[in-house]
Amino acid sequence: MTADTRPHVLVVDDEIQIRRSLRLTLESAGFRVGEAETGQLGLSATAASPPDGIVLDLGLPDIGGNMVLRRLREWSRVPVLVLTVRDAEDDKIAALDAGADDYLTKPFSSRELIARLRAVLRRAQPAPESAVVAFGDIEVDLSARQVRRGGVEIKLTGKEYALLRLLVQHRGRVVTHREILRQIWGPQAEDSTHYLRVQMTHLRKKLEAEPQQPRHLRTESGIGYRLVEA
């Protein structure tokens, strides 16, 4: 008998139907699935046998998903994908601030779930970070600070490059406005989202085939931005 090498995902949700359907979806996508029906059980299951990733429902009956995240982040860096209901932008931002890696709004498509889960799992893998990241016809050379589009070098301003680099480093995952503003403009600019809007418009004009309908530099409604590679 060989050891199970499939990535291990823990599903924390109080609804048995959601757990069952997630198990079906995840197992057919090649994951090994564990289940916990409360936040407390989720925490102890993670402590007993650390999974490679956690899918966490925010609306748990015992301790709320955000509390689970805060307690978890005191001792673990395991990637967490949270499940929320729509219209709960504040909850989503609170979850990301509390240490979630990404979120998914219910009801979601299983394809979306797998893609998001793979993206958050990839962050945790200590694979050697390649200096050149490519998406579409764009190539970003992080070591040479160069950006090429269709092989032609594109001149970016300092702010534009900083924004692009941040999204590339977190590619596939959402980065909140606050996070971007803090990292690029400094903590005093956390609420100055219009700086960011303007830079994003410039960046899209330089990099997107259709800046008005961006394929890669995506907006996450009311939350932040996400670099989508496909």
């Binding site: 009801p107 702010k159 406005h177 219009h194 303007v198 800046p211 009311g222």
Partner: protein, 349 residues
Amino acid sequence: MSEPRQNEWREYALVLSVLIVLTAGGLLLPPHYSLSVGLLYLLALILLSLRVGRWPMLLGGLLSALTWEYFFLEPRFNFRIANVQETLLFAIYFVLALVVGQLSARIRSQARKEKMREESERLQRTLLDSVSHELRTPLAVITAGLENMESSPPAAQAGLVAEIRTATHRLNRLVGNLLDQTRLESGSLRPRVDWCDARDLVNAANDGVRDALTGHPLTVAVPEDLPPIRADFALTEHALANLLLNAALHTPAGTPIRISAGLSADGRQAFFTVADRGPGLPAPLRARLFQKFSRGETAGAGGLGLGLSIARGFLAAQGGEIIAGENPGGGATFSIYLPHSAPQPDPQE
């Protein structure tokens, strides 16, 4: 506000003119008819109380008592009262006149309450009927689709899956609308107004209703140099999506829809406009357009009639508004307006 006030003035005018006519008529009668004139006044007040409200009635009671005393009770043409019997008559008249007015006002307000209660019961019944219809239709499609799936050939399964998917979208939208309306009414809406890219808003709204827009060519016109605008992204996106959905559901298949954004001429408002080439907005529909549970007759695919009510509520919560209009050349337009001021330039640029 202005309508009831205007009605009230009309009621005062009616009371005054009735009293003037009666007084003038009474003066033509011989002096010993004074008691009959008093009873005539009373009769007029009782009849008036069927038409006019509490305050005009109070004025009528006071005025008629005074005119009766002045013109008809001995000694006539002054406010002196001759004897105990006259005093008694005057006092009884005065009390009767006031009581008649107040009693009838109370009866009328009770009748009004009863009518409102009946109307609200009727509304509730219709609402329950329509909610259960809207919930059961997609559920029926899903149930039947799943059952058929087990026995149908693989070729037919794609069609069933598509039907189930459409029904699920519809169910999802319905639940979303009911929750949105509840959030609006419970006052738990806390808008987070921030700088937004108008084009992002339009894209997000389009994505949300893509399946419903199928078959309607969509044009998007957002100026490239439009600065960021102040809005709650999620609320504005929903409002826009509801307008797009309406444009798709209430117009014939194949008719185009245009969505545009920009700043008003004075730069103090940002706007989004959804324009269609459908049947437009007939006057009777216009009056109840934004009322909840009010539906246009052209709504082919059902719905609860919550979309515009929610859109307006979401806009009002962030200091904006929605205005309906005619599209020159045919069709309807719905415009969202949000307060705008130019963003501070980035000091690090």
